[in-house]
């Protein structure tokens, strides 16, 4: 039985001592907020000459309960290693937990300092020189990520456009509340699903919150748990969803940049030809996905009565206006 959430400090100190080169113990253990499906802990390994800032990503309570769309933490660690070799900025993985570590499933990686909160990244002076270059950085990073040889990848869910649409259709139908605009979007997506496209590794959640940003731009791509084999245009479309622009509606790429800059950098870095129509397909599906995810908050609210969940449920309408602007623009 792996240690539960409350008392992992002794095991972690032992893991640091035995698995992290030069470490004598662990200090400063702190549970970080965010990441509902995984536990994320910050701590530092103590050494003879200072501390190594680290992150532990661990299955809740150490026990793996695999969601159907999420990859196992062991797989996530392999993907981060492959991404690092491909020149994608990532926090290097230091150690994948072993049964003898008594911490359950998970891995330890370097803690990269920076900012993930969109409103700060889009507003604060600290990131003023980062914002103009980040769209191109995203294009270059995605090109490198999509070029990773499929033969070297661990086993991953294969999900091209059509099957992603069906997955969210089932979630929407299970929710049960009628959303005519979602129906319109599902219909459009089924009629416009890309056929026979080349499939690659896709990050699956490439947006604010999962990008560690410093004064010069993207420092690390985090949270690989939704990685799968899919249409590479998926990652380019998802980061353009209006929900991730945080009010900067005229900067489609994450509220900081232009599509053209991301596309040009993607092609220049050898990512292949960008198909703007397919990117739009994924932007539409992305808006719809986020809208459907907002509606599912209602299920959680009915269990725990959380006002926060309740109000997120009322944010699904935001994606409906975005979907109408994409699919039925006023001429």
């Amino acid at each position: 039985m792996a240690a539960g959430s409350e008392n992992i400090a002794p095991q972690l100190a032992e893991v640091a001592r035995t698995r992290i080169s030069g470490a004598t113990g662990a200090t400063g253990l702190k549970r970080l907020s965010g990441g509902a499906s995984q536990e994320t802990w910050a701590f530092s390994a103590t050494t003879g000459n200072g501390e190594i800032p680290l992150i532990l990503r661990r299955a809740p309570g150490g026990e793996s309960s695999k969601r159907d769309t999420a990859v196992m933490l062991e797989t996530e660690a392999i993907l981060i290693g492959l991404a690092e070799k491909a020149g994608v900025p990532v926090p290097p993985v230091r150690h994948v937990l072993l049964p003898a570590d008594d911490l359950g499933h998970g891995f330890i990686m370097d803690r990269v300092e920076g900012e993930t909160i969109a409103r700060k990244i889009l507003r604060d002076d600290e990131f003023a020189s980062a914002r103009p270059v980040m769209a191109a950085q995203c294009g270059e990073i995605l090109a490198r990520l999509h070029k990773i040889d499929r033969a070297r990848l661990p086993e991953l869910r294969v999900s091209p456009g059509a099957s992603e649409v069906e997955q969210y259709w089932h979630t929407y139908k299970a929710h049960g509340h009628p959303h005519p605009v979602f129906e319109l979007a599902f219909r459009w997506l089924r009629d416009n699903a890309p056929q026979n496209t080349e499939l690659t590794l896709v990050h699956g959640d490439f947006r604010h919150g999962n990008l560690m940003i410093g004064p010069k731009g993207v420092r690390a791509v985090l949270d690989w748990e939704l990685a799968h084999i899919g249409d590479p245009m998926e990652d380019l479309g998802w980061i353009c969803v209006n929900s991730w622009r945080f009010g900067n509606i005229d900067n489609p790429v994450g509220g900081f940049g232009k599509r053209e800059d991301m596309f040009a950098a993607y092609e220049a870095a050898g990512g292949g030809k960008v198909d703007p129509a397919r990117v739009k397909f994924w932007e539409v599906l992305g808006s719809l996905k986020w809208g459907v995810m907002c509606t599912t908050m209602y299920e959680g609210f009915r269990h725990d009565g959380s006002v926060e969940r309740a109000t997120i449920g009322r944010r699904s309408s935001e994606t409906e206006i975005d979907l109408l602007r994409l699919l039925a623009p006023r001429e």
Partner: protein
């Protein structure tokens, strides 16, 4: 008929109480959740103001589109079915107009500051 204050006045007073008196005394997560609670009360207030007339109009548009009257939720389910099967498409101009009108109302209640809503209102004004 209920006495004064109206439901709208009551909910507004509670939201003001949370923001002006309770929140300054709170910290951290509790302060954050108090803000969320006040925002939820704002949604209720706008819904009380806007929904009665808007839902009447929504039902009238649905009755025209579907050719018969009914309860609002049932009409919406029927509309969903017709969009799913492709029986109703945006080629029917009244469908687009209905979806726009309904969605603008939803946003006016749920999130009137949302960027996509603000932009849609601007585009509408410019197109007239």
């Amino acid at each position: 008929m209920q006495d004064k204050p109206s439901a709208i006045e009551l909910v507004e007073a509670v939201a003001n109480f949370i923001r002006e008196h309770a929140m300054p005394q709170l910290q951290g997560h509790t302060a954050f959740h108090a803000r969320v609670a006040a925002n939820a009360l704002d949604i209720i207030k706008r819904e009380l103001e806007v929904a009665p007339a808007a839902e009447k109009q929504e039902r009238e548009r649905l009755a025209t589109l579907l050719g018969h009257d009914g309860a609002l939720e049932e009409l919406n389910r029927e509309l969903c079915g017709k969009i799913e099967t492709g029986e109703l498409t945006l080629d029917t101009l009244a469908l687009g107009e209905h979806l726009w009108a309904t969605t603008l109302t939803k946003l006016a209640i749920d999130q009137p500051n949302y960027s996509g809503y603000r932009r849609a209102l601007k585009e509408w004004q410019e197109s007239w």
